[in-house]
């Protein structure tokens, strides 16, 4: 068995947690590491983004917070700058999202709104299951910035209110999010929290969350 301390492999030196039985890192893909160690598009000069469209989600108390600045021309996203407080996958997924919406001349706003967390994860080559909530925040911060764009450009009719009703005010988690998570097997509060972190920033919503889990379990699984 390789001793990861005494005989570190080059792989280990790249900055990952290494399982002692394997020489390869097990936690993050190379793409995630690339975006974590060399993040793209993070905001460096806030002064020149005073006019940009701003989106925000999360709070440092829950362990993840994200802020997004957008520049939009002809309904295409020309610039996406961000700041993130969070773990490696939070940083990498925001970085990847910024690349996805600005490549090829910029993504049309309506297309960007259709991006799902799964799309970001696919481009990252996957994330550990309990890290998924981080990229969920990425698409929410984008939506929040696009809503700011609609507001400032008199397209108020297009503002998309979160599909569903917001349950967790801090993380902006809706009943729809909870429904999806239950469908994917999160049938207890613990499992739901592993997936969404619901209630960590806004514990007052937990009783309602538990009620919703029971409701959707009965709806779909009759138990």
């Amino acid at each position: 068995m390789q001793d990861p301390i005494a005989k570190a492999t080059n792989e280990a030196r790249k900055g990952d947690v290494v399982a002692p039985t394997k020489e390869k890192g097990w936690f993050y893909t190379d793409t995630v590491k690339e975006h974590f160690f060399h993040p793209k598009n993070f905001l460096e000069d806030e002064a020149s983004y005073g006019e940009a469209y701003l989106g925000m989600v999360g709070s440092p108390a829950c362990g993840d917070a994200m802020k997004v600045w957008l520049k939009i021309e002809d309904n295409r996203i020309k610039d996406f700058k961000w700041k993130t407080f969070g773990c490696a996958s939070a940083i990498a997924s925001t970085s990847m999202l910024s690349v996805m919406v600005t490549e090829n001349g910029g993504m049309p706003v309506e297309d960007a709104l259709k991006l799902r967390p799964q799309d970001i994860m696919a481009r990252l080559g996957g994330l550990p299951a309990r890290k998924v909530h981080c990229s969920v925040l990425g698409d929410k911060a984008l939506r929040s910035a696009v809503n700011d764009y609609y507001r400032k450009t008199n397209q108020v009719d297009k503002i998309e209110v979160e599909a569903g009703r917001i349950i967790d005010k801090v993380l902006k988690i809706t009943d729809h999010d909870i429904e999806e998570a239950v469908l994917e097997g999160a049938d207890t509060l613990e499992k739901l929290q592993q997936r969404t972190k619901v209630g960590t920033g806004d514990p007052s919503c937990i009783p309602e969350v538990e009620q919703l889990i029971r409701f959707y379990k009965e709806k779909y699984f009759g138990a």
Binding site: A8, M66, I91
Partner: protein, 403 residues
């Protein structure tokens, strides 16, 4: 011990490398003297002698009798056995009351909270002050006629704070004398303290004490529980009567030999190594606290010689740990993202630091391999890592919340 090339391992509270001398002490019992200590033939006798010798070694180091040492599979089992063993064996009226602290290891807190939820016990969880210390007065005040056990660690695994166990022990002795009672017992988890403090059980007034091999340059998967004569425990396992029937099962002979050797080695070198590491610890803490917006977690003085835990405000611990790892420095974090649980460290939250501060905490734990050059390197690279992550972070908290 061979120094790892290039890499700086500062996670000794998680686990330590095996000391080659310990490996040597274990070696005969894998393939040569492989006998079962319960067998009557020569190989059995040799294994039995090895276990007896190890038991004697551990007992002497604790100032105890050999028959008071029970070998187990590690710290978690020892803690679980002490707690559950005392509670289940108690035969008083009503339900038993247990006192513990908010900064205990999960292997103490989780079984207690589970029994509390099931109304099997009444539980008092003592808070700690900003430095992580339990107050002796609080502990004494919490004692009740149905209190059967007080479980408080000697030193904390995350922030290194050393608890006043002997003083708490004296309060318990007073209580038992005044009430002419055998209860409550005092249990203490010594896993992190084993290499640094005097573990004489009479000085500590401990009735039960947990030891673990893997934090003292010994093998993983082996530990011990000191059980003072007369202390009644209900076992978990039922079997062939080994370990005075408190922990039956064929003895882990190489592990037991290794645990005893490791314990002997760290205790022999305890004072010198403590002095050496205290100087390095203080240099590291001082160096890192020069970085703006940092807070030391744990007691400024009454802290393990190998422990430096610092919150870097506005950044998240896991990200910093990965950047450190890329520099060849291995530290750890109690932050949510790095562990299976979602909440940040329960220990740091218990000291009154906010969630925001707890998320940015990083633990450096020093050990045999640590040199002054290692410490210099951490002090050199850390400011750059913190600066970079702060540039990426949208958070900018006011330090008035962390004073």
């Amino acid at each position: 011990m061979k120094k790892p090339e290039h890499l700086i391992y500062l996670d000794h509270a998680a686990t330590t490398p095996l000391d080659p001398r310990v490996l040597q002490a274990m070696q005969p019992f894998f393939s040569d003297d492989f006998g079962n200590p319960s067998s009557f033939h020569a190989l059995g006798v040799r294994a039995k002698d090895a276990v007896s010798e190890a038991r004697e070694t551990v007992a002497v180091l604790l100032g105890a009798h050999a028959d008071e040492i029970i070998f187990t599979s590690g710290g978690t089992e020892s803690n679980n056995l002490a707690i559950s063993g005392v509670i289940k064996r108690w035969q008083g009226e009503g339900i038993p009351h247990v006192i513990t602290s908010a900064v205990e290891h999960h292997s103490v807190l989780e079984p207690l909270m589970s029994m509390d939820r099931k109304k099997e016990i009444e539980l008092t969880i003592l808070g700690v002050d900003r430095t992580g210390k339990v107050s002796v007065e609080d502990a004494a005040k919490a004692l009740k006629s149905n209190t059967v056990l007080i479980s408080i660690m000697i030193a904390n695994n995350e922030i290194g704070t050393i608890q006043p166990i002997a003083d708490i022990g004296r309060e318990i002795l007073k209580w038992r004398k005044a009430h002419a009672s055998l209860y409550p017992y005092l249990h203490t988890d010594a896993c992190q303290a084993t290499g640094f403090l005097d573990l004489n059980v009479d000085k500590l007034h401990a009735d039960l004490l947990t030891l673990n091999g893997s934090k003292i340059y010994g093998p993983k998967g082996v530990g011990a529980l000191y059980v003072r004569r007369g202390t009644k425990l209900q076992p978990f396992f039922i079997g062939g009567g080994q370990e005075r029937n408190i922990r039956p099962g064929t003895e882990n002979v190489p592990g037991i030999a290794g645990l005893a050797k490791a314990f002997e080695l760290v205790q022999a070198d305890r004072e010198r190594e403590s002095a050496r590491l205290t100087a390095l610890r203080d240099k590291l803490a001082f160096g890192l606290l020069q970085i703006p917006k940092t807070v030391l977690n744990g007691h400024p003085i009454d802290r393990l010689p190998n422990s430096v835990n610092i919150s870097f405000i506005d950044i998240e611990g896991e990200a910093a740990v990965l950047y450190l790892d890329a520099e060849g420095i291995m530290a750890s974090t109690g932050s949510a993202c790095a562990s299976a649980s979602l909440d940040p460290s329960h220990v740091i939250l218990a000291t009154g630091l906010s969630y925001e501060g707890a998320h940015g905490s990083i633990r450096f734990t020093l050990g045999h391999s640590t040199t002054e050059a290692d410490i210099d390197k951490v002090i050199e690279v850390m400011p750059g890592i913190v600066k970079r992550l702060r540039e990426m972070s949208p958070v900018n908290l006011d330090m008035k919340y962390f004073s």
